[in-house]
């Protein structure tokens, strides 16, 4: 059933695939990022209550959504790496982790900058903020663990296990605003009901979310190519390529 996937476990194929996809992904991501952010920051109407301060939503929400999306991608790669021991999946885990960590940091920092004028405080230990901070620590933990062993294989394996186990945090982050009383408001778009955000503000936001998603894939391609070259440097196909 999954026979067609087998060539993609081969580092050489993935290296060339990433090389071909990368320029397209990067170009689309930058274009959408510019479009979404300029539209969102400059051309949307102000909010009826928060005025212009709400505009930080166009950075905060895409970063926050993709901090969780990136984590699920990392966890799936880690799961494949642990069960089927696919080398490319193993390297992907370590390639994705810093991207996700930066997204999480962006979400936390923009959230704090938003919280100060709107709520009146930079930080409050409510369930949403705390679980998102734990997500950042999970990313940092994966990065740190992978480098904490003298044997790189063992380090990668332990880091993958942490990545898989940390998935428990994702539903906690998402449902924290429903399960408990929090200062953070409820979900505006990631719910089944009609989005509680006006269409004039929603469209640039959706474009920004898509841009962050594609940017993650583009950065993954860049980092994965580097990881493949580093790990396969003594293989004939790398040597042949370097010899050209």
């Amino acid at each position: 059933m999954f026979k067609w996937l087998h060539p993609y476990a081969k580092p050489e194929t993935v290296y060339h695939l990433c090389g071909r996809l990368m320029p397209w992904l990067m170009g689309t991501a930058l274009l959408l990022l510019l479009l979404g952010n300029i539209w969102g920051l400059a051309f949307t109407p102000p909010d009826y209550q928060q005025g212009d301060s709400y505009r930080i939503i166009h950075l905060h929400v895409p970063a926050a959504i993709m901090s969780m999306g990136t984590y699920s991608a990392m966890a799936i790669a880690a799961f494949i790496a642990l069960v089927w021991q696919v080398k490319v999946a193993q390297w992907s885990v370590l390639a994705i982790a810093p991207i996700g960590a930066v997204y999480t940091a962006i979400a936390l920092i923009t959230g704090m900058a938003w919280g100060k004028p709107m709520w009146g405080t930079w930080w409050v230990w409510d369930a949403r903020l705390t679980s998102e901070l734990i997500l950042l620590f999970l990313y940092l933990g994966v990065i740190a663990l992978s480098g904490a062993f003298s044997d790189r294989q063992t380090g990668a394996k332990v880091a993958s296990l942490l990545a898989v186990v940390g998935v428990i945090n994702l539903p906690i982050i998402h449902f924290s605003v429903e399960w408990w009383n929090t200062l953070h408001q409820g979900a505006s778009i990631t719910k089944f009901a009609k989005p509680s955000i006006d269409p004039s503000m929603l469209w640039p936001l959706l474009i920004s979310i898509l841009a962050f998603k594609i940017l993650m894939l583009a950065l993954l391609c860049v980092r994965l190519r580097t990881a493949i070259l580093v790990n396969e440097q003594h293989r004939p196909w790398v040597k042949a390529m370097a010899g050209d």
């Binding site: 949307t44 109407p45 102000p46 909010d47 009826y48 209550q49 928060q50 005025g51 709400y54 939503i57 799961f79 642990l82 069960v83 089927w84 004028p117 709107m118 709520w119 009146g120 405080t121 409050v124 230990w125 409510d126 369930a127 296990l161 898989v164 186990v165 998935v167 428990i168 906690i172 399960w179 408990w180 009383n181 929090t182 200062l183 408001q185 409820g186 979900a187 505006s188 509680s196 955000i197 006006d198 004039s200 503000m201």
Partner: protein, 161 residues
């Protein structure tokens, strides 16, 4: 599937399952402590199955809607008092200091302070809570009848304040 892979698959699923159970049990046990604030009805009726009421003198947070017409300001100082409501009982908050920009009647707020008697809290910090609805001023006016005036165009309040 190869037996070795199958073994690894089950081992990992078992680890995830056990940890999920452990975390769920932990969160269940800490249920009442994870809530950031009491609502007015929780404060008056008690919290959870055991109806635990907070003690007078206890530090806590209270969250609710500011009741329209209940905001009383002291003309000589920054002292202010207002009532909070969620579904039933009212709780009075006394505060001295600068209120956040979003503070207004009908707005959700979270106040941290000390419980003075059953329904009065002396707050040391008042935070505004905004909801998940975002809309332009014209839409809000049409939908909710809220007239938004930018701070630059606001008339200074007349009278003593």
């Amino acid at each position: 599937m190869q037996p070795r892979r199958q073994k690894r698959l089950f081992a990992i699923l078992l680890v995830i399952g056990l940890l999920t159970g452990a975390v769920a049990a932990m969160l269940y046990a800490l249920q009442q402590n994870i809530d950031l604030f009491y609502t007015p009805s929780q404060l008056v009726d008690g919290l959870g199955k055991d109806k635990v009421k907070p003690q007078v003198g206890q530090r806590l947070r209270i969250g609710g809607m500011v009741v329209a017409g209940s905001v009383k300001r002291d003309p000589e100082s920054l002292k202010v008092s207002f009532d909070l409501v969620d579904t039933g009982p009212l709780v009075t908050v006394i505060y001295e200091g600068i209120l956040p920009d979003l503070f207004r009647e009908g707005q959700g707020i979270v106040a941290q302070g000390v419980l003075q008697d059953a329904t009065t809290i002396k707050a040391s910090e008042v935070l505004a809570k905004h909801d998940e609805e975002y809309m332009p001023p014209e839409v809000a006016e049409a939908l909710k009848g809220i007239r938004h005036v930018p701070p630059s165009q606001q008339q200074p309040a007349s009278g003593s304040y």
